[in-house]
């Protein structure tokens, strides 16, 4: 029989105003197993906790029920309190009489009655609680970073600098990500390449960092501290260890008309290519979709010109198995497709471009060597119209676009408008906006400078339609301040396309069993207090895969994720969650139902010997749960017909007792 202590918290007046705490503690004192019942103003305070500790000692308590706020708030606190007084932390149950009672009921009679039932239910459960001890598992002191953009780069550097090995898996032939494609960065206007490429070199040269470029994560098994990851290294048909990156092959390759993805298809590259001059690793890659040698065996020019003998047409995809203790997701973002927004005539005119395309046009290493010209005819544009919020802030019912604000567009549009006016004072630049959102250090000042010093026309209103007519783009829009509809004959229209998580994120989330929101952004463990961790232990989030972010925020989050990873890898052993499933081998039929519903692969089977009647020995197939892998969802407990599978901390009998207590 348990000796239970009940502690009713007033939570100041939060509880006490609508629940008669004295009546509750008196009523609960009569429940079976209860030997002590008290109430106090703030149970979670030091004094409150001392009260509990003293009662444990004085009444030799074996179980604790705290009637207070949600267990999501202070369950941990009270468990620690109990532990410090010498009883098992899992002998504590919380009756949530604040969120579920005092805060939602106005009438003290109702509140008190319900609080008693909730307390009784917790007591019924504690009566059946058993001490639980968390298992321990070792930590592999290495980290994997998925994605080699600025987020991944920063996270990897920070982890590696702390002395842990890091591998970066990047699906493209080079690291660098979106930032490598940018021209200048707001609000300081320093060149993106100038600040990014030194970091890329740091990564390449860091003795603790390995880069798996042109590679993907193929499978993930295991759990926090002990992940087994399969990395697929795609065949690039060039031996990375031999290629010097001289680039001769990329000049001699006869296949010239391959759309250059680095410049968003605005110019072409060869079938063998190095994405850009500062690529890391600076190694050529053959595009199998275009290479004549790989397609029909006729060519071989690159192999002939390569003095390092790095070309290998026979190369195959290879699978690499690695072990990690932590995984950081840094899969980044992409602009959304403009397909559904053809009121802006993106598919009808080359002179309607997205902001990222504009970024390449403005970039000295871009398709126009940084000269602002129209993609259609190479002429210098005089009138430019920027449209904000294309596909951002769209209601669900509008059936296209994203509901969220993409966050970065206001600032990069201000940057584009400012740079255009700065370099080409003969231009007229219009920015159509719904709101200009500039909550960042020096952001609003930057935007105001664009308007005030550079003469960018900011118009409050949206563009309704863009119609190519002759060599002009007729832009029809509203000016809400003037209450006018305005028509502009523009030379170029630049669309601030909403951003969305990279398409690879969904499958990676599935492999990692990390949760995502409806927009495919990774969900954080807590939106405020644990923003760089996934709810799945051992998975961390860095950069725009968690939500739209600009570069400073991304770098900050990347560092934060690294700090969390370092904190994990610094430990030698991890304490697990003791509320895991366990199988009663005497009752297990070995039917495999539980194994089939387990999302973590935590259940395996062994043939075990049992003593039969008359000294015989029977061998039976029985389930065994790996407590380090089990996350304690309980799916197996219901799949099990014999009831052999039960969940510690949420045992069938405990829940039944709770049901009975409520229905009493």
């Amino acid at each position: 029989m348990q000796r239970i202590g009940v502690f009713v918290c007033w939570c100041g007046s939060n509880i006490a105003a609508t629940v008669d705490v004295e009546a509750v503690s008196q009523a609960l004192a009569k429940e079976p197993g209860v030997v002590h019942s008290a109430n106090y103003q703030y149970m979670c305070s030091q004094a409150g906790q001392d009260l509990i500790r003293a009662a444990i000692k004085e009444h030799k308590l074996t179980g604790i029920v705290v009637c207070s706020c949600s267990p999501r708030m202070h369950e941990m606190t009270f468990r620690k309190t109990a532990e410090s007084a010498g009883i098992n932390p899992y002998m504590v149950e919380i009756a949530n009489i604040r969120e579920q009672c005092s805060w939602i009921h106005k009438d003290i009679l109702t509140g008190t009655e319900k609080a008693i039932v909730l307390g009784r239910t917790a007591i019924a459960k504690v009566n059946l609680n058993a001490p639980l001890t968390a298992g321990e598992s070792p930590v592999t002191k290495r980290a994997l970073v998925i994605g080699g953009g600025i987020a991944g780069i920063q996270t990897a550097l920070d982890i590696a600098d702390a002395g842990f090995e890091v591998d970066i898996v990047e699906k493209n032939p080079t690291i660098g990500g979106k930032m490598a494609q940018l021209d200048k960065t707001f609000p300081t206007l320093d060149c993106a390449a100038c600040i990014l490429t030194p970091k890329m070199v740091d990564v390449a040269q860091h003795e603790k960092i390995r880069i798996f470029s042109y590679s993907e994560v193929a499978a993930v098994k295991g759990f926090v501290g002990n992940f087994d990851v399969t990395i697929k290294k795609k065949a690039r048909y060039v031996r990375e260890d031999v290629c010097t990156g001289c680039g001769l092959c990329t000049e001699k390759c006869p296949v010239k008309k391959v759309p250059n993805e680095f410049n968003l298809g605005m110019d072409t590259r060869r079938a063998i290519y190095i994405p850009f001059a500062q690529a890391v690793p600076k190694v050529a890659t053959i595009d199998a979709d275009y290479c004549n040698m790989l397609k029909n065996g006729k060519c071989g020019v690159c192999s002939k010109v390569c003095t390092a003998k790095a070309i290998d047409y026979e190369q195959k995809d290879t699978l690499i198995e690695e072990k990690y203790g932590a995984i950081v997701v840094a899969t980044g973002f992409n602009p959304i497709s403009m397909e559904k927004f053809d009121e802006y005539a993106y598919s009808q005119s080359k002179d309607v471009v997205t902001s990222l395309e504009f970024e390449r046009i403005m970039n000295a290493a871009g398709p126009t060597q940084g000269k602002l010209v129209r993609p259609s005819d190479g002429k210098h544009p005089h009138t430019l119209v920027f449209v904000q919020c294309v596909g951002s802030r769209c209601a669900n019912c509008a059936e296209k676009g994203k509901e969220y604000c993409s966050k970065i567009c206001c600032m990069y549009t201000a940057k584009h408008a400012m740079l255009t006016r700065d370099k080409y004072p003969d231009t007229d630049v219009y920015v159509f906006y719904i709101d200009v959102r500039t909550p960042g250090k020096n952001f609003d000042e930057f935007y105001r400078r664009a308007a005030e010093e550079y003469g960018v026309h900011y118009v409050k209103g949206m563009v309704g339609k863009v119609m190519p007519e002759g060599d002009k783009l007729m832009v029809r829009a509203s000016d809400l301040i003037a209450n006018k509809q305005i028509n502009i004959a523009a030379d170029m229209v630049i669309l601030a396309a909403a951003i969305e998580p990279d398409k690879s994120a969904r499958s990676i989330a599935t492999m990692l069993t990390a949760s995502m929101d409806t927009n495919d952004f990774f969900t954080e463990a807590h939106p405020k207090l644990r923003p760089v961790e996934s709810p799945t232990a051992g998975i961390f989030l860095s950069g725009a895969c968690q939500g739209p972010k600009d570069i400073p925020e991304t770098v900050a989050q990347a560092g934060a994720a690294a700090a969390k990873v370092i904190g994990l890898l610094a430990k030698d052993k991890l304490k697990g969650n003791p509320c895991v499933a366990s199988s009663n081998e005497l009752m297990c039929n070995g039917c495999s139902s539980c194994e089939r519903v387990c999302p973590y692969g935590a259940i395996s089977y062994v043939d075990k010997e049992f003593r039969g009647p008359n000294r015989t020995v029977l061998v039976r197939r029985v389930a065994q749960v790996n407590p380090a892998v089990c996350q304690g969802c309980g799916a197996c407990t219901v799949a099990c017909p014999s009831g052999a599978m039960d969940l510690k901390g949420f045992a069938t009998k405990q829940i039944m007792a709770e049901v009975d207590a409520i229905c009493k």
Binding site: R72, N96, Q100, H105, P599, Y600, C633, G634, V638, M656
Partner: protein, 144 residues
């Protein structure tokens, strides 16, 4: 207030990650719902064994509601999908046995849907009150 006003007994199983948090949010926002609803916290809606539901009915519950994360959002990735199948079959079976089908319900309530939690509980309680006492399933001998 009528003396013999019907106070239903309603058991709500809430998954720890979404619906229980949704209930907390309803509380934080002071969104009231009837005191007849009592919540049992389970790690995941897939922990809810049909036996629990039947047990509740047997011991005099007038309604049982199970709340979990929205499909696709399960903290354990797939738990609620199993719940959905189990409950579809169980509810259909209870209906087949002639038990009022509105006495049991499954709702997906996310941690952000405090308002939905409160509305769901208000609606469900109203429904149960309109159905009246659970005579078909209640075991009288378990009463005091």
């Amino acid at each position: 207030m009528q003396v013999n006003e019907f106070k239903p007994k309603i058991v709500a199983f809430c998954c720890n990650w979404c619906s229980y948090a949704g209930a907390d949010l309803a509380g934080s926002n002071r969104l009231s719902y009837p005191a007849d609803v009592k919540i049992i916290r389970v790690p995941c809606s897939c922990r809810v064994n049909p036996m629990f539901i039947l047990r509740a009915f047997q011991r005099g519950a007038d309604g049982v509601i199970i709340c979990g994360c929205h499909p696709g959002d399960c903290h354990y990735t797939s738990g609620n999908y199993y719940t959905r199948r189990r409950m579809a079959l169980l509810f259909s079976m209870l209906d087949y046995l002639g038990i009022e089908k509105d006495r049991m319900r499954l709702e997906w309530v996310s941690a952000a849907e405090g308002a939905k939690f409160a509305t769901t509980m208000n609606e469900f309680t109203e429904k149960i009150i309109s159905l009246g006492e659970n005579k078909r399933l209640e075991d009288l001998r378990c009463k005091k």
